[in-house]
């Protein structure tokens, strides 16, 4: 009961600032860009081969990896600013058992991240579906594949948000947390893949391609476990840090 109250409070906390609405606006822009690409872009030969098959359209709409990056920034900002504004103080006063407060915060960020990512995926699918009639190709992706795309992206949103929240609670500074999130998701994975060939199968873009059904580098189960670890490691470290640190 206490935990549910805390989660409710944390969700209200997120919903009463402009942060999620700002991210939603970004998603609308991304969906608009996707629709514009479908409507106006061409391959080098002037054709629209990049949307010719169901597989092409599904790859174009696969949004999970981007969703993870976006929601990791969302989670990092949402949690790090709590320290910047000292709003962690009332949080820990309401719940002096800090692990509860942190779990409530992670749950709220996870739910909001998943919702944003799911909404983003729906917008992207809608944008592509609305733009396709302006080409000679029909919307070819099956309902089953659309559901998988949506599920994968929603999951990616949740994972990214938790990863970002973990980094935010470790670093406690919005600029620093965002920078580290970008390093963790943009810079380190390709570097790791270049240094160790096998690492390329375990970085978020590949794992979400597997989960979305557009790649088969590893099994689905392994991809789910691996991508969950990407979120749980920083979240766990953040939880330990919050438990040990003084609030000064």
């Amino acid at each position: 009961m206490t935990t549910l109250r805390l989660i409710r409070g944390e969700i209200r906390k997120l919903g009463t600032t402009k942060l999620p609405w700002g991210f939603l606006m970004v998603l609308v822009v991304v969906a608009g860009l996707d629709a514009a690409v479908v409507a106006f872009a061409t391959d080098m030969d002037g054709s629209k081969a990049f949307i010719a098959t169901a597989e092409d359209q599904r790859s174009l709409m696969a949004f999970a990896s981007n969703a993870m990056i976006g929601t990791s920034l969302f989670g990092a900002i949402a949690v790090a600013r709590e320290y910047g504004h000292d709003t962690v103080v009332p949080m820990f006063l309401t719940s002096p058992k800090r692990y509860r407060a942190v779990l409530a915060q992670l749950s709220a960020v996870l739910l909001t991240g998943a919702t944003l990512a799911g909404a983003g995926q729906v917008l992207v699918i809608a944008g592509v579906a609305l733009a396709l009639p302006s080409t000679e190709f029909a919307f070819l992706v099956s309902t089953g594949d659309l559901v998988r795309l949506l599920a994968a992206t929603t999951f990616a949103g949740a994972i990214g948000a938790v990863l970002g929240a973990g980094l935010g609670s470790i670093i406690r500074n919005v600029g620093g947390a965002v920078t580290v999130a970008v390093l963790v998701l943009f810079v380190i994975p390709p570097l790791a893949a270049q240094l160790v060939a096998e690492a390329g199968s375990w970085i978020p873009p590949t794992l979400f391609a597997v989960i979305s059904g557009v790649d088969a580098a590893v099994s689905l189960g392994a991809a789910l476990v691996a991508i969950t670890a990407w979120a749980l490691v920083p979240a766990g470290l953040g939880l330990v840090a919050v438990q040990r640190r003084d609030v000064v």
Partner: protein
């Protein structure tokens, strides 16, 4: 009834001792002023009480329990710590809604508290546009949201207008009269003088003096003598705090008036005046917390005062 107790609380940050072996009690039914210069350790001590900071030694309890072990802390302890602990983009009303949601407090209390702190007119504006006084009022509304019997307030009067200060004073007096426990730190000594029944004074993290304010104010003695230098040395050696008053008299604290007279007689020093003196809280505060060459002797003086006027 909730008594606040600090027992041998020590906190260090690296090599700096911020709170040093602090032991005192804050009684219910009283307003206790928590005083000390900047950096004396008041805020850290309050944070230790509220389990925001872990002490290196000792512990602090509220009604015999540590804050983290209280069943419903938000309804038991109202807290004002940071004047800016708000998201600037969130409205005052939504700030209180977040707290009410998290603590399971009836949302109808929100409007009630906004009315009580006279912030209803600005409740739906972003906190970023609030003045310091308005933020203090919002912080007080948050502290009172759960109608708690204990209030722990760090500089709650900062930025309040005179009406607000008066309102706050009446509120805290009323809370104490109803049996509540009120610990309030402030630099507004004149205000504390009106407000507090008891004071706890820290300096450099150490307890300097604690006791009933009215008794502490009477604890000084005015002495006139031609042997002022000799008497000063002698009384300081006996553990008294001695300084020269505005009219050249000696002001002595920490020794009973009869003891001062007996010691002067024994030393053969003629006294031209020996009268009890009631000092203002500001005078007392400066005596207790000003560093000077008599710092070492002052430590024992304060111990004597503490013994003479126990909480």
């Amino acid at each position: 009834m909730h008594t606040l107790e600090f027992e041998n609380v020590t906190k260090r940050y690296r090599h700096e001792v911020v709170v040093d072996d602090l032991t005192f009690t804050v009684l219910p039914g009283r307003v206790t002023g928590f005083l000390g210069p900047n950096g004396a350790g008041k805020s850290t001590a309050m944070k230790i009480l509220l389990d925001l900071v872990k002490p290196d030694h000792g512990h602090a309890t509220i009604g015999g329990k540590r804050y983290r072990d209280m069943a419903d802390p938000a309804r038991s302890v109202g807290v004002v710590l940071e004047p800016n602990a708000f998201h600037p983009g969130r409205s005052g009303r939504n700030h209180l809604r977040v707290l009410a949601d998290g603590a399971g407090i009836d949302p109808r209390r929100i409007s009630h508290m906004l009315d009580a702190v006279e912030l209803t007119h600005a409740a739906d504006r972003h906190v970023g546009g609030y003045s310091l006084g308005m933020r203090q009022r919002l912080g007080l509304a948050a502290a009172l949201l759960g109608d708690p019997p204990v209030l722990v307030l760090d500089e709650p009067g900062n930025g309040l207008d005179p009406q607000g200060v008066r309102w706050l004073r009446d509120l805290l007096r009323q809370r104490a009269a109803e049996g509540g426990t009120v610990l309030v730190s402030s630099h507004l000594l004149a205000e504390v003088e009106h407000l507090a029944d008891e004071v706890v004074v820290l300096n450099h993290g150490r307890l300097v003096v604690t006791g009933e304010l009215s008794a502490l104010r009477q604890a000084g003695t005015s002495v006139r003598t031609l042997g002022a230098d000799r008497l000063t040395m002698m009384l300081r050696a006996a553990g008294a705090l001695v300084h020269t008053g505005g009219e050249g008299e000696l002001v002595v604290r920490g020794l009973a008036i009869s003891e001062i007279g007996d010691r002067a007689l024994a030393a053969g020093i003629a006294l031209h005046e020996l009268t009890p003196q009631a000092g203002s809280l500001e005078d007392l505060f400066l005596d207790w917390t000003t560093d000077d060459s008599a710092a070492e002797s002052r430590g024992s003086v304060h111990e004597n005062e503490r013994t003479a006027v126990p909480v």
